[in-house]
């Protein structure tokens, strides 16, 4: 309790003060809000200030969403909703032309643009027809989803497959969600069209793999076997090395997948060694330093290193496997990047606990695939804009 009182006192002493006319100052307070609720009192004051400023604070507030943390976005969103509610109750209209222009501005935060769009849509349902068809390659996955849905609807209503195919192709280019990609791919394949789902999502199909190493009683998760020791010395393991495995000497071997969703199935392609672990290694070439997300799906425990640095680890077995189950933000360097994945199987005997597999893709934060620079394809599938 003493700690709590001291914390409250300290927080009170260092709270930033927002002047009565200082809208930018209030927005700054919200943008800088920290985890742990350490500055909630200041954030509440800032929201109160913005609410008092009314609709004139709306656009600066919305511009403040850009590059803000999710926590800050939530504070700013609540401020926006409070202002919008108050304006509506007072019978005042929101500045529609300015807000509509804001929605179209792809330099602004996708969260803020979507918030404004849905606010406007309540009083102007026609906004969907005016805006969504142009948003197929938008930076916001939600706008893309709506635009893709319109195209799928249009294509599926056409009686002639030849007419529908270009529409499905267009929709495929914008789709970033699995359900829409599946729907479109099925329609195109019914029309005998080639569809490369693996490339569309940016899955990594080519790996080198070594194992099995011992993971009886789950103890191997914490043990640094040869490949892990290798990357302590350099960013990449020695693919010519031979290691002491679970039952014998083991060496790296190539493994590839043709699965649409990039699943490397160790149980089927190699063997479901119970109580074991494997290391899988691949490289990805980037034409520049860039922010990216490595998205992983697996029912097994795992650790992931990028260029020798452990970026995340998770010790959990058989709680499902889904596309984009884990999202790991990383910075990729210009040139070759090494990904080392440790993938662990336990000894559960239930039917549903036999999968030993993983799928990995590299994309941007909207879910649009990033492709390695050696590819002849664009470096970002279907994005239209680089950000």
């Amino acid at each position: 309790m003493r700690l709590l009182i001291a914390g409250i006192l300290l927080t009170t002493l260092v709270l930033p003060v927002v002047r009565a006319d200082d809208t930018p100052g209030a927005i700054k307070v919200l943008r800088e809000v920290q985890p742990g609720a350490v500055d909630s009192a200041a954030a509440r004051d800032a929201v109160q200030h913005l609410r008092a400023a009314g609709s004139q604070a709306l656009l600066p507030l919305l511009q403040g969403f850009r590059d803000a943390s999710p926590l800050a976005v939530n504070w700013m969103r609540n401020a926006f909703e409070q202002i919008a509610d108050a304006e509506t109750k007072a019978g005042r209209k929101l500045p529609q032309p300015e807000l509509e222009a804001f929605v179209r501005d792809q330099n602004q935060s996708p969260f803020a643009r979507r918030l404004v769009y849905e606010t406007l849509q309540r009083s102007d349902p026609g906004i969907e027809d005016r805006m969504i068809p142009d948003m197929l390659l938008d930076a916001s996955p939600e706008f893309r989803r709506d635009a893709v849905a319109l195209l799928i609807k249009e294509a599926s209503a056409l009686p002639d497959a030849a007419q529908a195919t270009p529409l499905y192709r267009e929709a495929f280019n914008g789709a970033v969600h699995e359900d829409q990609v599946k729907t479109i791919a099925e329609a195109l394949r019914r029309n005998n069209e080639e569809v490369d789902i693996q490339k569309h999502f940016g899955f990594l199909p080519q790996w080198s793999i070594v194992g099995p190493f011992d993971n009886k009683d789950g103890k191997g998760f914490a043990v640094a076997y040869g490949p892990e020791l290798d990357i302590n010395a350099s960013e990449a393991p020695d693919l010519q090395a031979e290691y002491d495995g679970q039952t014998d000497k083991v060496r790296w071997q190539p493994i590839a997948t043709t699965d649409d969703y990039g699943v490397v199935d160790i149980a089927k392609q190699i063997e479901n060694f119970k109580g074991s672990l494997m290391y899988a290694n691949t490289t990805w070439t980037s034409d520049r330093e860039q922010q990216a997300e490595i998205r992983l799906g697996t029912p097994n425990s795992w650790k992931l290193w990028v260029n020798g640095k452990l970026v995340f680890e998770r010790e959990e077995y058989h709680r499902s496997s889904q596309l984009d189950q884990y999202r790991v933000p990383v910075t990729l360097k210009a040139g070759s990047n090494t990904l080392l994945l440790k993938i662990c199987q336990n000894e559960q005997t239930q039917d549903w606990a036999q999968r030993y597999q993983y799928q990995v893709r590299i994309c941007n934060s909207t879910g649009s695939a990033l492709l390695p620079s050696t590819s002849t394809a664009r470096s970002e599938i279907g994005s239209g804009v680089q950000r």
Partner: protein, 402 residues
């Protein structure tokens, strides 16, 4: 220091008293599924649906009631990453306000669940919305954000790909959350006003979907929060986070313990009843493997211990001995926890059928049924003579026609 103590005393003095007519958290104010003092309609029919109100997205969270407001959470979006908190006028069913946030933690769940699975809680002045993504959001009753804790980003490994469901409870000035998974587990007490962590304790690293229960204060012992896991049940001081005693004989990871008249009935090897003693120990009263709950938590009231399994078999036991007295087969599958009011049980199956059951000495009698024709997985709430229950699509108020 004196002025701080004076301030704290004044603050404590002005805290709202618990209104019996409120239903402030999962399984009610005492987290035991008993709607004390409530008389709810027993003859359910279409006429007893006072109103139904459209809800956004999806939700398994139950409604809570504070004064004249009904609060419910929901989640929406392709990734279930949009978090909704909605206030509805209990009298009319009209939406008063809706606030939306983005999830800061993982939002994946099993298809049957969704991000809005935990039920909200309230201290009477604020509401606390908790989500599978481990986002804990505090709003005042007018929808103004008071604080936001993104436990999903603060503790990124404390998640479960099948989803999290533990509902928070409020004891005094502390809101308590239990976040347990195979990869990382903890429980913490958060100050209701500031959102600051008061205490944080490590918990067993194992998947767990149970919710905290409350052991009410007695003359000898302040109220304790009861944290259940596969290891058992741990009694924790809600002010300091100190462990007071530990029942270590294992327990279920889905249905949660319940408390009645100082005894605790734990879903452990069927049901196990224990009674805490003054010296921070406890004695085991009975164990019954023939009364075993499924997903629903047990309900204990008036000498009965009820357990509902997932296939809809309601078992009634004697709380003195644990002896099973009778069973009643209902229809359909059940996920929600029943509630009890004025000598009746109210149970909702997953198909949206409501059952009112009158327990008697040697049998249970279905008094009435109502088909709401929507999937219901949440546990209902009761306040001011009305029953509140939600599907993904709607919030229903069930009450006697005025």
């Amino acid at each position: 220091m004196k002025w701080i103590i004076t301030f704290l005393i004044l603050t404590a003095a002005t805290l709202p008293t618990l209104t019996a007519a409120d239903w402030r958290q999962f399984r009610g104010n005492a987290a035991n599924s008993v709607a004390t003092g409530e008389t709810l309609p027993t003859e359910l029919s279409g006429d007893t649906i006072a109103w139904k109100t459209k809800l956004p997205g999806r939700g398994l969270s139950g409604p809570i009631v504070v004064g004249g407001q009904v609060f419910v959470s929901a989640s929406s979006g392709y990734a279930q990453d949009r978090l909704h908190v909605i206030s509805i006028d209990a009298a009319t069913g009209n939406q008063q306000w809706e606030r939306e946030f983005i999830a800061t933690g993982r939002t994946l769940t099993h298809d049957k669940m969704c991000n809005a699975t935990p039920t909200m809680a309230s201290d009477g002045q604020r509401v606390f919305a908790f989500f599978s993504s481990n986002d804990l959001i505090c709003l005042d009753l007018a929808g103004n954000l008071q604080w936001f804790r993104g436990f999903g980003s603060e503790f990124p490994n404390a998640s479960n790909s099948l989803g999290m469901s533990s509902s928070p409870v409020v004891i005094g000035r502390t809101v308590i959350v239990q976040v347990e998974s195979d990869a990382e587990s903890f429980a913490c007490g958060v100050d209701v006003e500031s959102g600051a962590t008061i205490w944080h304790i490590a918990r067993p690293r194992a998947a767990n979907w149970t919710s905290p229960s409350i052991l009410p204060a007695t003359d000898q012992q302040a109220a304790l929060v009861l944290l259940q896991s596969s290891k058992g049940l741990t009694a924790v001081d809600p002010i300091s986070g100190a462990i007071v005693w530990d029942f270590d004989q294992g327990a279920s990871t889905i249905p949660s313990a319940t408390v009645d008249s100082g005894s605790i009935v734990i879903p452990s090897n069927g049901l196990t009843a224990i009674r805490p003693a003054r010296d921070n120990t406890f004695e085991q009263l009975w164990n019954s493997s023939s009364i075993s709950p499924g997903t629903s938590s047990p309900v204990v009231v008036d000498g009965w211990a009820f357990a509902l399994n997932s296939a809809g078999v309601l078992s009634a036991g004697d709380t003195k001995t644990g002896e099973r007295l009778w069973q009643l087969r209902l229809r359909g599958s059940f996920s929600s926890t029943p509630i009890t009011a004025n000598g009746y049980l109210y149970l909702f199956n997953e198909d949206g059928n409501a059952f009112v059951v009158k327990p008697e000495k040697d049998k249970g009698i279905i008094v009435s049924e109502l088909d709401l024709a929507e999937k219901i997985l949440c546990s209902p709430g009761a306040a001011n003579g009305a029953l509140y229950v939600r599907s993904d699509e709607h919030l229903f108020k069930i009450a006697e026609r005025q």
